[in-house]
Symmetry: C2
Subunit: 190 residues, 2 copies
Amino acid sequence: MQVYLAGPEVFFADAEAVIGRKRELAARYGFTPAVWEPEGWPQDKYEVGLFISAANETMMRQSDLIIANMTPFRGLSTDVGTAYEIGFMCALGRPAFGYSNDGRHYGERAAAEYYHAALVLAPDGMQRAGDGQMVEEHSMADNLMLDGGIAARGGFVVRPAPGIVLPAEDLSQFETCLAAARSGRVAGAR
Amino acid sequence: MQVYLAGPEVFFADAEAVIGRKRELAARYGFTPAVWEPEGWPQDKYEVGLFISAANETMMRQSDLIIANMTPFRGLSTDVGTAYEIGFMCALGRPAFGYSNDGRHYGERAAAEYYHAALVLAPDGMQRAGDGQMVEEHSMADNLMLDGGIAARGGFVVRPAPGIVLPAEDLSQFETCLAAARSGRVAGAR
């Protein structure tokens, strides 16, 4: 089983080390991580972007499942490249799993880290912020398209206990996700 | 031609008005916007999330193309639900177009709004922030998977001139995108 490991680790200061550890762990659980050995980089930086995008899409098509790191990256939500990749694999009908080191629901994070104020239940039944914007509340780790798409492919999003936020380098949730994906056991779906 | 209009407008305080204006504009350019008339809402809020996710995926499968609002939402990047949807439609091979009201590259936004400091060109040739993290620079509106995926389907991301940031309610970039998608003209790809 080839697994596509999606996540923002390529941007980390210790990218190579973290990615290496994740690949080792995936192998320990019986998965073959998709790996790309790039050759012939383009010169132009826009073309480099297209080159990496095409390579990642090829790897996704060749992979049997995706395990996505949905830990919020530079803000409230999943890295958007990772979100694209979850959608891509879901459209292909491949099993999809996610994990986050952040045990809060999206709305809890939005209140604490973006609005810096409690959200209110508005007369229309929606949870709203001070600026009038609606903040979705579905007891999900992130936007309903991500959690919903993963659930519809038989997967789930592994998270620590409610309210707990683990450091970025902690791989316990990833490992739980690997073990569950390996055994086909559906647990901790919310 | 049925168009799936992706974007974070459902969260806006004036969601209904904005979505209505976007649908009218799409129709003026000859597109039929995908619309959902929900019936039989579930009671449980998690189930509601799954219900909306499934309905959006059905609408995407029924649509001929996607036009995505990639204007940063509650942070540096495209709304993650929208990013999922771009990936979903790209995997289905449907034409994809994006627009953003923010004329800056992702890296320029990250420097200005997240790191609050200039990025540096590190000895390894990467653009890095003070925390050592790499910040991608491909002259793209957002993460390379989004811009790259759209470009690979013949689309492009419409943006205002470099550095210009238009208000959230401005629909000029959306209209440019509709006109270009309508005529099949590829312009302003960067």
